[in-house]
């Protein structure tokens, strides 16, 4: 039992150690690179000190988990750095390389290897030898009670340099930064960040509540206005009554007038109370919103990583690829100190690997070609990170290789059917270059294990766009290629444009939207089987979003002749997507579709709106593909029927504007299409022109009441099967009976009228 516990503890300690060790190794190796570039100066000492401490900490950590080999190596390294620190021992290329090799070995040990490469000890020994001649010079201050004095019990031992170690042992400050540092697994921080992001829903919700309150206020305003208009009429009719039948109404005429005036005052008091509430709600919302923004920013800050983490990985990879391809290549990384959110960095892992593979695979020419061209034999790849405006960073991957052969890109695009020769002729170089980000286009004439399938760059562009970023490429033939990835430094929310297509809502990432436009339908040109519109002086494909997605497109009558479209772009291509309307723009919280929907064409996730409603987020790169597939294919005569069933259409008959709005919103929220009529007569006329599935009617109405309407409906051969639900304030048995008599299918009394009751009645009848 105790054994098992110990094992578990050890296991978790090892996880912690690995993480810590990796950080130290990274810091040491970075520091070393920095040191090599630096002229000897005051700043140099600082860097050396940092390396020294990192080594020392790593040694201590290794000892605490019983990794003697690492401890022994660190001891030697510590000695070396102590010597550098105290004696201005120059950091020669040889020394640096040897240290890097040793660090690589330590990294492997940390990762769980049990043995070391045969020559490692030789290198360690050589390092030791390099500093041994001057041990006596390394004794500036002596601290006899330094903690690191226990003899390392490794197979080699480090006894010869023990004196140097003790002498060079820095004061306890090397541990001080740790004193107010807490080591937390990334997974836990990510969970925390996710929770904080959940809080954003509160912000979205309160925005929604604010809007709802504004609607209430508006409704109440309308009511007040109507009331004020009615009062004189009531008063005058009351007077008429008084004059005609004064003896029947003995009270003074001022009685009802006073009552009306009272009611009017109450109404306006309520109105100002509601107004005050609305204002306070707004203030609360702004306050919440600002606090949440701060909270989210701080939470993200915690998960920011330096780009150097990625840089190391890329450098190693380039070295491996260089060996495998037998091309001498040197990769340098710049801007390693800039921080990016871990999730963004994680997402960029694959794209950067692809880009480096591309550079080595077909950017950089073989050595003999380079020699012939008078270029340095060793190809240079430069990866640099720079901070841009507005929380953006740019990763730039440059090589000094052959550049991109536009003719070959064009040929490949034509071959893969993306373009026809005529279209290709019209493209400028920039447009042609952007083609490399599309699937199936490759400039490589042979497929190697590294590249040539034409998929790599398509993935780069998709990943970048998924994060709300953008890819740019420029290339000078013979000089090299530069690919720039503009990315958000932090992730999570993005701006989304909420649109309606057919009767569904979708979110389009605002970063992908070039413009929302409205134009008349005759501006759509048909070129062969495709439709195009003019945008920014050129023709771009136009297709209806509903058609691309295969959902029914309901054209509302009033908009006939006018077309609303979003011009979206991906990988340098533009397309016009016809939509029903733009509903607005807002911060969107992205959610995955769950494990069962691992990936869905055209949909990248779901957004949860303030109301809790889910809206699919469109994937622009996919849409482009689907749209071109759609344009190419003949238009289907009959779009696939919607699997979820058609939307039922209801007619709501109500003379009171408030009740009408209320009923309409309840029913719309339940997913029905709702048309309204102000009385029975209006309803019956509307029914003649429009088909409905069910009628919900008030009873008391001017011109034609609910009973009369029901009777008319039942008498008409066209409607006698039409379900009718009567909703009324009258709770009398006679009325109920009358309702059933005249053929209503349900009779709901308003006092017992809650939405679930109404909805279940309607649902039961449909």
């Amino acid at each position: 039992m105790a054994q098992a516990n110990d094992n578990a503890v050890l296991k978790s300690i090892m996880v912690t150690f690995k993480a810590e060790a990796e950080e130290h190794l990274l810091a040491i190796s970075e520091g070393l690179t920095e040191l090599r570039r630096m002229p000897p100066s005051g700043a140099r000492a600082e860097v050396v000190e940092r390396i020294y401490r990192d080594t020392h900490s790593l040694k201590g950590a290794a000892r605490s988990v019983g990794l003697e080999m690492i401890e022994a190596i660190c001891q030697t390294l510590e000695d070396v750095f102590a010597a550098v620190k105290n004696t201005e021992l120059p950091v020669s290329d040889g020394l640096s390389a040897a240290v890097q090799t040793v660090l690589e070995e330590v990294r492997r040990l940390v990762e769980g290897r049990k043995t070391m490469a045969a020559n490692t000890w030789e290198i360690v020994a050589a390092l030791k030898a390099a500093i041994d001649p001057q041990p006596e010079t390394a004794t500036p201050i002596s601290e006899p009670d330094a903690p690191v004095s226990g003899p390392p019990s490794s197979q080699t031992g480090a006894a010869p340099s023990a004196a140097a170690v003790e002498a060079a042992e820095p004061d306890e400050t090397s541990h001080e930064p740790l004193a107010d540092t807490v080591r937390v697994p990334v997974a836990r921080l990510e969970a925390l960040l996710r929770l904080v992001e959940e809080l954003l829903r509160i912000e979205l919700m309160s925005t929604q509540r604010s809007a709802e309150t504004a609607t209430l206020l508006e409704m109440h305003g309308a009511w007040t206005k109507r009331w004020n208009g009615l009062v004189p009429a009531i008063v005058s009719s009351g007077r008429d009554l008084d004059t005609t039948s004064a003896e029947v109404k003995p009270e003074p005429a001022s009685g009802p007038e006073e009552c009306l005036a009272d009611a009017g005052r109450e109404l306006s008091a309520f109105h100002s109370a509601l107004k005050g509430f609305s204002t306070r709600l707004d203030v609360d919302r702004r306050w919440t919103s600002s606090i949440l923004d701060h909270l989210l920013a701080s939470a993200k800050e915690v998960l920011m990583l330096q780009f150097s983490v990625m840089g190391q990985m890329l450098t190693r990879m380039a070295a491996e690829l260089s060996r495998a391809e037998c091309k001498p290549v040197a990769l340098t990384v710049h801007g390693t100190h800039i921080k990016i959110e871990k999730r963004v960095l994680d997402e960029m892992n694959d794209p950067l690997i692809h880009l480096i593979r591309n550079c080595v695979g077909h950017g950089i020419e073989p050595a003999e070609v380079r020699r012939r061209l008078g270029k340095p034999e060793c190809g240079a790849i430069k990866v640099s990170l720079s901070q841009k405006d507005g929380n953006k960073v740019e990763i730039c991957v440059e090589d000094d290789g052959a550049g991109i052969d536009c003719a070959r890109v064009k040929a490949s695009a034509i071959k893969s059917g993306l373009l026809d020769a005529a279209e290709a002729g019209n493209l400028d170089d920039g447009e042609i270059l952007s083609l490399i980000f599309r699937s199936g286009v490759s400039t490589s004439q042979i497929i190697t294990s590294l590249s040539g399938r034409g998929l790599g760059l398509a993935i780069v562009s998709e990943k970048v766009e998924k994060l709300g970023g953008r890819v740019r490429v420029d290339s000078t033939p013979g000089q090299g290629t530069r690919i720039r990835l503009l990315l958000p430094a932090t992730l999570a929310t993005f701006r989304g444009t909420l649109v309606r297509a057919g009767d569904r809502s979708f979110v389009m990432p605002t970063d992908s939207v070039a413009k929302a436009i409205r134009f008349s339908a005759d501006q759509i040109h048909s070129v062969e089987s495709r439709e195009t519109i003019a945008f920014a002086g050129r023709a771009i494909s136009f297709v209806k979003l509903a058609d691309v997605l295969g959902i029914p497109d309901r054209q509302t009558g009033e908009n006939k002749g006018q077309v609303t479209a979003l011009v979206v772009h991906s990988a340098g291509r533009y397309i016009g997507l016809g939509i029903s309307e733009v509903l607005g723009e807002q911060e969107i919280l992205v959610r995955s579709l769950g494990p069962q929907l691992a990936s869905v064409t055209n949909i990248s996730g779901a957004a949860m709106l303030g109301s809790g409603a889910l809206v699919p987020i469109l994937n622009v790169a996919d849409l482009m593909r689907s749209a071109s597939a759609f344009c190419g294919a003949p238009r289907p005569a009959d779009p696939a029927p919607d699997a979820s069933g058609e939307v039922k259409s209801l007619l709501v008959v109500e003379d009171s504007v408030t009740s009408r709005v209320l009923l309409k919103s309840i029913l719309q929220a339940a997913g029905y299409e709702v048309t309204t009529a102000v009385d029975g007569m209006d309803a019956f006329t509307t029914m003649r022109t429009t088909r409905f599935d069910l009628v919900v009617s008030d009873v008391e109405m001017p011109r034609m009441n609910g009973f009369e309407l029901t009777t008319r409906i039942r008498q008409d051969a066209a409607f006698k099967e039409m379900p009718v639900v009567l909703v009324t304030a009258r709770e009398s048995r006679e009325d109920k009976e009358r309702g059933i008599e005249c053929g209503a299918n349900a009779y709901i009394v308003k006092s017992s009228f809650d939405q679930t009751n109404l909805l279940s009645v309607i649902e039961g009848l449909l």
Binding site: L593, Q596, P616, A643, S644
Partner: protein, 182 residues
């Protein structure tokens, strides 16, 4: 009822006692399957309770374009996104439209989780494992794939584990994979 003879009454009483007994108590828990019983179209189905995380009445469902017909859509499941599928599609049962009484049985195991649309819930019961019969010849192929057995009273017991493990139910479209080149 007062005219019933003495023996008749005792027969009826005995039957009433038998009928009243909760199914779970009829035999020991050994060899018993706890199941959640529900209705799909006009047929009765059940799934073992251990795969059922919860029964969730949902309001709005957001249909997703570009998904197979068996995917009904996504719902807001306590602040999370839950996909809901309709098994009726596989069982060649009529696909009714949705209504506000729709419920989803949330199936969960390991990392997989989804909702199964049901037309009505009948509650939980226990089924003696040995009374389960093999597939009826009328069950179509795919139903047999997920079949655990059929109870004597005709309830089709589905194998929740197989449903959850079936990769064919996971939508993984061709594009947008980000797979590395080999």
């Amino acid at each position: 009822m007062n005219t019933a003879s003495h023996t008749d009454q005792s027969i009826l009483d005995a039957r009433a006692r038998e009928l009243a007994r909760p199914i779970s108590r009829r035999t020991s828990a050994e060899g018993q399957l706890a199941v959640v019983e529900f209705q799909l179209a006009h047929e009765c189905y059940a799934i073992e309770s251990r795969f059922v995380a919860e029964v969730f009445p949902f309001g709005d469902i957001t249909p997703l374009p570009s998904t197979p017909a068996f995917v009904v859509g996504i719902v807001n499941f306590r602040g999370r996104v839950l996909s809901v599928i309709d098994l009726k599609f596989f069982f060649q049962l009529p696909m009714k439209g949705l209504n506000d009484r729709n419920r989803a049985i949330v199936l969960r195991s390991g990392n997989m989780e989804f909702g199964v649309l049901v037309d009505a819930m009948h509650g939980t019961r226990r089924i003696a494992q040995e009374t389960l019969q093999e597939a009826l010849p009328t069950l179509s192929g795919i139903r047999e794939k997920y079949l655990k057995g059929v109870t004597p009273d005709g309830v089709v017991v589905l194998d929740g584990g197989k449903l959850l493990a079936d990769d064919a139910l996971v939508v993984r479209d061709r594009t947008n994979k980000g797979e590395r080149e080999p």
